[in-house]
Amino acid sequence: MEFPENPKPSEEEMIAAYVSTLATVVGGEEEAKKKIYSVCTSTYTGFGALISEELSYKVKGLPGVLWVLPDSYLDVPNKDYGGWDLFIDGKVIHRPQFRFNERQQTRNRPRPRYDRRRETMQVERREPMQTGQWTQEQRSPSTQQMPGEPQPVNPSGWPEQGP
């Protein structure tokens, strides 16, 4: 869900907003509290709830709702590293080991570090054999940035050859 930046609401206010939003489609705040299983107000502002696909489409149009996305098919929420907290019976249970999951640094520009980064190398690749226009893949420059690129020379790492 989307919240205004200025003033930014408190954690309790955000969670209350989640509950009241869901309440409009499940028929009451008590029901909503039972269905919500996770909340987050830091890494992202949103909640996870166990509802049918039909109901989820009703949530889509509600005010303040940015995205309604399915959770369970590809990802296993239990072992998630995301910075969300459990929400059981209306109470927030913090997960301290995953609490301080900071927002990922945006990696739009190469960091001014010692290791060499390849800038855009527009490579002419053989196109896979498919028809139609759906394979016009864009060669995004940043897809070639790989963290931890091998550092061929790290002066501090080589054994110093004494004079």
Binding site: W67, S140, P147, W158, P163
Partner: protein, 600 residues
């Protein structure tokens, strides 16, 4: 300030002699490491020479690296040659890496080849760096030689080397080889997984990419990074799997990657290709400072969804914001004009591409314009344009198919015949030729020229090529159901699907929108049209998806006129929105009409 201090110290030590040398050297070395620009490196180099200190290999290596960091490859090479026989594996590796980073991977590899002659063996860093150079070139042959070197020397067990190998095979489109290397790795880190997923995504092995990601999530040794997630999103885009794409988006949000531009572009593209324009646009609007990649994706998305005005407005916005368009951007713009019939504007954009924006048009751009002219019936211009394009192989096949299709649609069989000759000739090659010949055969049939159609079919049989079967697929929850034209027996819940379709047929016969009933295309047996794959898929979707949910069907071929009409009626009858992705664009059916305006 630092320079003055340094100079004072240097002067005082100079008087000292002997033990002072090592300190001076250390100071100068540190200066090299901290240098950021060429003049400072050169001046430090000069000081080293003037101080009369012998250049130890370590210092030379620092010098070479400093030059390479500034991109001064010529200087670096000179410094390297000055070393003479003292050059060690570090020197060589730096050179390879530096040239590769400076955009000369070919020279980088040439250095590698010279190493044995100088008696220096490559180590794991060398191999990894050289493999990176191969990746940049997408060069399989040297890559394989490096693989052999790695196996023979045992360096393949090094994590960095094997990861670089996976990356190299990926960039060379050999996903199978990449996977073999990946499977043999005893330990893998996030870069390894990313390289493998990237290999699958970019080799159009999207299904394997999703499977591999599923395996990764079951193990979950560490959180996925943005590179891995963007490969998965790209895979979903190719397959048109909206649900998987949404799940991945959820993962992106939960881990706080949503401000990443690469992921933003990939998500815009994915939502567009999966038929959800609303979310595509929303992702785009939330990006803080989109660059050419997300902009191009958004323009192409609007074009494919038939929103030419939006697409062209976005292009104007992009220019206003000072973002430079590239070839892909213009493809989107031309498609927008093509699908909306804005022929003259399209021609203007083509003319301005090189003149105003410095982007040279490629065969794909001309193909789009030929298609646009053809669609609008301006066939002579289309022929003139196609004739002036130097194309070969698969590109040529697509170009001439566009012309053939336009010819048969507008009854210009002379054009179609000419295009057919080129298609059948040696200029065109690859799988796209099949599509071209099928288009011609269908076109001839539709024009009532059975004998010409039969000729084309014979030609295809003679060459041993078979046309792609029409197939459509629908995503329900996490599974994908595929349907083939005419195959009811094997299709999922076939009995129920046929019941639904037959009931709809009956209702359609009674449905009288324009005072005409449902027309059958000449030459099509009534039964065949109703068993087209997209209808089977639609039937299945109607019984499997909840009420009110938008139905999304993906098809591998162009939608036929019959089904297009039928879908318009059906969406009104069942009061649901239907989105169909066919070979060229999206059709949004709602309330009895289609977003393409019957111009596709």
């Amino acid at each position: 300030m630092a320079t003055r201090l340094h100079r004072r110290r240097w002067c005082s030590f100079r008087r000292d002699d002997g033990g002072g040398c090592g300190v001076i050297l250390a100071l100068l070395t540190r200066r090299l490491r901290q240098s950021r620009c060429l003049p400072s490196v050169v001046s430090t180099h000069a000081k080293i020479l003037k101080s009369g200190l012998t250049l130890y290999p370590v210092t030379s290596n620092h010098l070479i690296n400093a030059y390479l960091r500034c991109g001064a490859t010529a200087h670096a090479e000179l410094a390297f040659r000055d070393m003479g026989g003292a050059a060690n594996v570090v020197s060589w590796t730096s050179l390879i890496g530096g040239f590769s980073a400076a955009g000369r991977p070919d020279r980088a590899l040439s250095f590698l080849r010279l190493m044995p002659a100088h008696g220096v063996s490559p180590n794991s860093f060398t191999l990894a760096t050289a493999l990176t150079a191969c990746s940049a070139l997408a060069a399989l042959h040297p890559g394989r030689q490096l693989h052999a070197m790695a196996e023979l020397s045992g360096l393949i067990s090094d994590l960095v080397v094997s990861t670089a190998l996976v990356g190299m095979y990926g960039k060379a489109n050999c996903a199978g080889d990449a996977r073999r290397v990946f499977d043999k790795m005893r330990q893998r880190n996030v870069v390894s997984w990313g390289a493998m997923l990237g290999a699958y995504a970019q080799s159009a092995c999207a299904n394997q990419a999703l499977e591999l990601f599923g395996e990764f999530l079951r193990l979950l040794p560490f959180p996925p990074n943005h590179f891995m997630l963007s490969s998965v999103v790209t895979a979903c885009a190719g397959l048109g799997r909206l649900v998987s794409g949404k799940c991945t988006h959820a993962a992106v949000l939960r881990r706080g990657h949503d401000e990443n531009d690469v992921l933003g572009g990939a998500l815009v593209d994915m939502y567009a290709k999966c038929g959800c324009f609303e979310y595509s646009h929303r992702v785009f609007q939330l990006l803080l400072s989109p660059d050419v990649v997300p902009f191009s994706a958004m323009i192409a998305a609007a074009a494919k969804h038939g929103m030419a005005t939006t697409a062209l407005a976005l292009f104007d916005e992009m220019l206003e914001k000072g973002v430079k368009p590239n070839g892909v951007t213009f493809l989107g713009v031309l498609h927008a004009c093509s699908h909306a019939g804005l022929v003259d504007r399209g021609l203007q954009y083509l003319a301005s591409m090189e003149k105003t924006h410095g982007v040279a048009p490629r065969v794909a751009h001309y193909t789009c314009v030929v298609d646009m002219l053809g669609r609008a019936g301006r066939l002579d211009e289309a022929v003139a344009m196609a004739g002036g394009v130097a194309a070969e192989g698969g590109d040529a096949a697509l170009l001439w198919t566009a012309l053939a299709s336009a010819g048969t649609t507008h009854g210009r069989l002379d054009v179609a015949a000419m295009a057919g000759d080129v298609l059948g000739g040696s200029l065109c090659s690859g799988r796209d030729v099949v599509g071209g010949l099928v288009t011609m055969a269908n076109g001839y049939r539709a024009a009532g020229r059975w004998e010409l159609a039969a000729d084309v079919r014979q030609e295809m049989a003679r060459r041993g090529i078979r046309k792609d079967r029409g197939c459509s697929w629908v995503e329900v929850k996490e599974a994908v159901e595929v349907f083939y034209a005419g195959e009811v027996a094997s299709c999922c819940r076939g009995g129920e699907v046929m019941e639904v379709l037959q009931e709809l047929e009956k209702r359609m016969k009674g449905y009288d929108r324009n005072g005409r009933g449902l027309e059958m295309a000449d030459g099509e047996e009534p039964a065949a049209a109703s068993l087209h794959s997209e209808r089977l898929a639609l039937g299945f979707a109607l019984i499997s998806l909840p009420e009110g949910v938008t139905i999304r069907v993906m098809k591998n071929l162009r939608m036929c006129k019959d089904c297009h009409e039928a879908f318009k009626m059906i969406c009104a009858l069942v009061e649901r929105k239907i989105v169909v992705r066919d070979l060229n664009r999206f059709h949004h059916f709602s309330e009895g009409s289609c977003s393409c305006g019957d111009y596709w």
